[in-house]
């Protein structure tokens, strides 16, 4: 019988300091996240230097807590996986250097993991991943369609050409004077609305799986400004609903088309925006009709966490792809296959 494999995951790519231990790539033994959101709220967004400072304050506490909750010692681990990129470079460096020091001190192998691979592998923690698989990754920093023909193989078939979906949400939320982060507030306003304003959809060239949200974002912001200048009251629910409908329709339509074209067995949504109810419902409804298995992990695993990094790290480690002590943070890291 194969021996059980325990991976410590570490994630510090943005504003969460996280550590987790995952068994055999799918069973969460512990999952600790220290969020900095209260601190960044003051500034209306994540301030990179402030994020880096908080990571140093939290990093050893969070790793210790992950070991404690798992009732394990470093000697029980098989490898250390850490987010290598993309992300805020100063933030990435804290997790990476802590991971290197921890791996070195305990004689453990080190695995650098791509943040998006992590978001995709969050699904391995709740169900068996079946290939070919299509992943829609939507967060504050990413909007991507990734095709996986096999475990550890990634093909980027579409991505945003300007703003990430979550970024557009945050900017529109700011215009509506909603607190940071704005996504959940817009989602709520939209869901409560019985009417929606009409905003454009960016389909781009025929057949393209790429996205663009900056035009939509500008249209929404202009609408609000023009109304303001005319002294008209706008209904924030209608505006939020109109914006959300445009985003959701484009994301759903392109994801369905890709799922058909590549004849995938499974479609998953991942990343912070996958927690959005409007998007979830739209995708669920569409894929039920298509008879394709669609899944979104629970919110806790959609937002940044280290269990997803440990899960992806487990696959990469099993494939024999290790990093050494010279690993650096790579803010623009590309998603490469390891199988």
């Amino acid at each position: 019988m194969r021996k059980d494999q325990y991976i410590l995951g570490i994630e510090t790519s943005c504003d969460e300091t996280a550590a987790s231990i995952v068994k055999n790539g799918h069973e969460i033994i512990s999952n600790v996240v220290a969020s900095q959101i209260e601190s960044h709220k003051r500034f209306g967004g994540v301030v990179p230097e402030v994020a880096s400072r908080h990571h140093v304050e939290q990093i050893t506490i969070v790793i210790e807590e992950a070991l404690k909750q798992a009732d394990m010692t470093p000697q029980d681990l098989d490898a250390v996986a850490v987010t290598e990129g993309p992300g805020l470079v100063g933030a990435l460096l804290i997790g990476i250097n802590a991971a290197k020091a921890f791996a070195f001190a305990n004689g453990l192998p080190l695995v650098g993991v791509h943040h998006i691979a992590g978001h995709i592998y969050a699904n391995a923690l709740v169900q068996k991943m079946e290939f070919p698989l299509l992943a829609l990754v939507v967060s504050g920093g990413h909007t991507e369609l990734v095709l996986m023909k096999e475990d550890g193989q990634f093909e980027l078939i579409g991505e945003t050409r300007d703003d990430a979906a979550g970024e557009a949400y945050d900017k529109v939320a700011r215009v509506l004077n909603l607190p940071y982060p704005g996504g959940p507030h817009i989602d709520k306003l939209a869901n409560e609305s019985d009417e929606a304003l009409q905003f454009p959809r960016a389909w781009l060239e025929e057949g393209s799986y790429d996205f663009s949200f900056s035009g939509l974002k500008s249209a929404v912001i202009n609408y609000q400004h023009n109304a303001e200048q005319r002294g008209e009251e706008i209904n924030p629910n209608h505006l939020a609903a109109g914006f959300q409908q445009s985003v959701v329709e484009v994301l759903t339509t392109k994801t369905i088309r890709a799922a058909r074209e590549f004849k995938v067995k499974q479609v998953i949504a991942a990343g912070g925006v996958a927690a959005n109810k409007g998007l979830r419902n739209s995708l669920e409804e569409a894929f039920t009709k298509e008879n394709i298995h669609f899944y979104v992990p629970p919110i806790k695993l959609c937002t940044d966490n280290a269990a997803m990094i440990a899960a992806a790290g487990n696959s990469k480690y099993s494939a024999g792809h290790l990093s050494d002590m010279s690993m650096n943070g790579r803010p623009g890291l590309e998603l490469n296959s390891w199988n």
């Binding site: 230097e49 140093v56 050893t60 100063g90 804290i94 650096n328």
Partner: protein
């Protein structure tokens, strides 16, 4: 007792391994290699040369800043992670003081500086073995302070070169600079300083930036304006 010392607070990298009263191995470099890439491999290599295994380390000394924000964070993160997981005490020492201790026998005032851009420096002033001042300060204000002390001043640090003409102009005969051999931090010196200190609680060890972030400064100004 086996010590590991790490200083990554500015461009230079300094690592040392000290066993009791003997420096087993020491490394200094002023090459512009990203600390994130260079520090752990350098520690690994130096420990191999000193024939020391990670679990033989009994204490860790780390330079806590000020300096380059990212640089300081890398040394502090490595130091505190090692100390925590190896269950050994950690000592954090001012990076400016470490530099100044390169010149322990100088009769007068020792001033260590690191460039902080926009005509500002991180500066440490030390006299008779005591800390007079450690601050983020404009070069003009620093030189006025030193001028008023009316003593001989020795400048230490590789960033002295950047400002030497202005320093010389203000302090004239009262100033000299250490030679190049003393311009880089020495992690064995860092360890010797740590030996005289109390250890810190490992989770609480954080860099000493001596400056709040611009975002926080603006936010506080905004709060004051709104009467909060």
């Amino acid at each position: 007792m086996i010590w590991l010392g790490i200083d990554t607070s500015n461009t230079p990298l300094a690592i040392a391994i000290v066993k009791d009263e003997q420096v087993l191995a020491s490394f200094q470099s002023s090459m512009k290699i990203t600390h994130s890439i260079g520090t752990m491999p350098a520690i690994e290599e130096l420990m191999e040369k000193a024939n020391i295994k990670p679990n033989e380390i009994e204490a860790i000394a780390v330079a806590k800043g000020p300096g380059s924000y990212t640089g300081v964070r890398i040394g502090v993160t490595i130091g505190k992670t090692l100390a925590w997981t190896l269950k050994v005490p950690i000592y954090s020492v001012s990076s400016l003081h470490v530099l100044a201790e390169n010149a322990p026998y100088f009769q007068g005032v020792v001033c260590s500086i690191m460039d902080a851009r926009r005509s500002n420096v991180f500066a440490g002033i030390y006299a008779n073995g005591e800390v007079v001042k450690e601050a983020h300060i404009s070069l003009v204000d620093l030189l006025t302070t030193l001028d008023n002390m009316e003593q001989q001043v020795l400048f230490v640090g590789m960033d002295v070169s950047i400002h030497w003409e202005q320093i010389k102009e203000v302090l004239g005969d009262k100033v000299q600079r250490a030679n190049a051999a003393f311009d880089l931090p020495n992690a064995a010196v860092l360890i010797e300083m740590a030996k005289k200190m109390e250890p810190s609680e490992v989770h609480t060890v954080v860099p000493e930036y001596l400056r709040i972030t611009e975002a926080e400064a603006n936010w506080m100004k905004e709060q004051k304006k709104n009467g909060n």
